[in-house]
């Protein structure tokens, strides 16, 4: 029973990565109607930027947490301005293929310069060590990850659902032409949204740097799982992707406990099942 609690908690930790990443994907899909295949690569960039900041600039984890998303976010906005914006109005397929190409390029370049075995990134001193919860040993850093991502997720949710800027975003998702005709610079907003979504991915990257090796391919396989999360939650649904992210982390954790061999596949099985019952995901709008 104790072990089960521990697994639930560990699942929640993984879920927080899924939530952050799928949240970014959902935001981007909502506004740009693009399945951002480059999300995994940008997540990886987040981790790398944190590494560079530390090793080249001596800039610590806390600043990296702020700076890396901004830097990667700006990179994302450049991508949007120079490439993605030309796809407005085209079939989904082209956005998927373009971002797939971008992912290959980014990952390829990093692999060339940094090899594939990865670079070390240490846990910041303040978060070292762990505490005994009675049923498990919880590294403080992991606890921090859960709490911090939960806060970021909720803040993003608040930003989009409860603020004026969010109202613009939601309105532009429904009818960009009309919102533009109200005097809002929608193209700029789209660029910023892409930056935001990408920044969330980079943030997840920084968070994961001390846990996982900083490797060029760290996002390549993860992204497929996150796609599944987004699809299960319903494409474009903010709350849907946050909840599904955490929930799937927990489900995966439980699978690791009861039937570890299936822990990689459980997400896909779930996705197939969900889509069979609800063709647009749990909370999704029609495609």
């Amino acid at each position: 029973m104790q072990a089960l609690y521990a697994q639930l908690l560990v699942g929640l930790i993984n879920g927080s990565f899924y939530a952050l990443l799928s949240l970014g994907l959902a935001v981007i899909f909502g506004m740009l109607n693009i399945i951002n295949f480059a999300h995994g690569a940008l997540y990886m960039m987040g981790a790398f930027v944190a590494y560079f900041l530390l090793s080249l600039g001596g800039i610590n984890y806390w600043w990296a947490l702020l700076l890396a998303p901004i830097i990667v976010g700006i990179f994302g906005m450049i991508l949007e301005r120079t490439m993605l914006q030309w796809l407005t109005g085209l079939d989904h397929l082209y956005g998927l293929l373009l971002t797939f190409g971008i992912a290959l390029i980014v990952q390829g370049v990093f692999q060339n310069y940094f090899g594939s075995s990865g670079l070390p990134y240490a846990i910041p001193d303040q978060l070292k060590g762990g505490m005994n919860l009675g049923f498990m040993f919880l590294p403080i850093y992991r606890g921090w990850v859960v709490i911090f991502s939960l806060v970021v997720c909720l803040a993003t949710w608040f930003l989009i659902e409860k603020t004026r800027l969010g109202a613009y975003l939601r309105a532009a998702t429904e009818n960009p032409t009309l919102v533009r005709a109200f005097g809002i610079n929608v193209p700029r907003m789209i660029t910023l949204t892409y930056g935001l979504g990408v920044g969330l991915a980079a943030l997840a990257g920084v968070l994961s740097a001390p846990i996982n090796q900083v490797r060029p391919l760290m996002g390549a396989d993860l992204i497929i799982v996150v796609f599944a999360v987004v699809v299960i939650g319903g494409m474009g649904s903010i709350m849907g992707s946050i909840i599904t992210g955490f929930a799937l982390g927990v489900i995966e954790g439980l699978t690791k406990y009861f039937y570890p061999e299936a822990s990689n596949t459980v997400v896909f099985v779930l996705m197939v099942l969900v889509l069979l019952v609800k063709p647009t995901g749990l909370t999704g709008r029609a495609a």
Binding site: R170, F182, I184
Partner: protein, 207 residues
């Protein structure tokens, strides 16, 4: 069009009335010719810039956002210049809206949606309003109410370009009329000349 005037575009479905409004607003891709607003050429401007100059557009399908509640819908268009109606006055015009501020935008009845769609562009300070078929699909009582509103707006000094099929409604508010067919203005007359042009109009509109 002169300031403070109410002008109606008449014409059959698909004659190009809505397209005219959209071209002025800069929503339609390729435009040629010239659109001048306050003596400023705006044919090349993007729609957000045009809106910032003080033109507001209320589309035929009303464009109420379902993911926003009534308050958010109402507050959505940014204030582009001073002189917009304050909220109290808007609620004064449309008392229904005040009661339903927290409902989801598309849960409102058709009439309320139309009111919301008009209300939200009054706030922004735009002086030139383009209303695309504001009476469409609404009950007579409500049409009447909207007529009153337009009349009041006119009194407030708004310039209004109206697209209407409901000819009877248009006649209660408009100063002048243009008839549009196949994307061209084929006729124009003032309210005073209306009676004289009635027969012509019937052929144009096919009613």
């Amino acid at each position: 069009m002169n300031a403070g005037e109410v002008v109606t575009l008449l014409g059959r479905n698909g004659a190009g009335k809505t397209t005219t409004l959209k071209s002025i607003m800069g929503i339609i891709g390729k435009r040629t010719g010239s659109v001048k607003f306050n003596n400023q050429e705006i044919i090349r401007a993007t729609s957000d810039k045009i809106a910032r100059m003080g033109i507001a557009f209320c589309p035929e399908e009303r464009g109420i956002f379902s993911s926003l509640d009534v308050r958010e819908n109402l507050l959505l268009p940014p204030v582009v210049r001073a002189g917009g109606l304050p909220l109290e006055q808007i609620f004064d015009l449309f008392p229904n809206l005040k009661e339903r501020l927290n409902s989801q935008g598309t849960k409102l009845s058709g009439g309320e949606q139309q009111m919301l769609a008009i209300a939200r562009i009054l706030r922004t300070g735009a002086s030139f309003l383009m209303l695309d078929e504001p009476t469409e699909g609404l009950a007579p009582v409500i049409i009447q109410q909207i007529g009153h509103t337009i009349a009041r707006l006119k009194k407030e000094g708004f310039t209004i370009l109206l697209v209407e099929q409901n000819f009877r409604f248009a006649s209660t508010v408009a100063d002048r009329y243009y008839v549009v067919e196949h994307g061209k203005i084929i006729d124009g007359f003032s309210n005073a000349e209306l009676a004289a042009n009635m027969d012509k109009l019937h052929t144009y509109l096919g009613v």
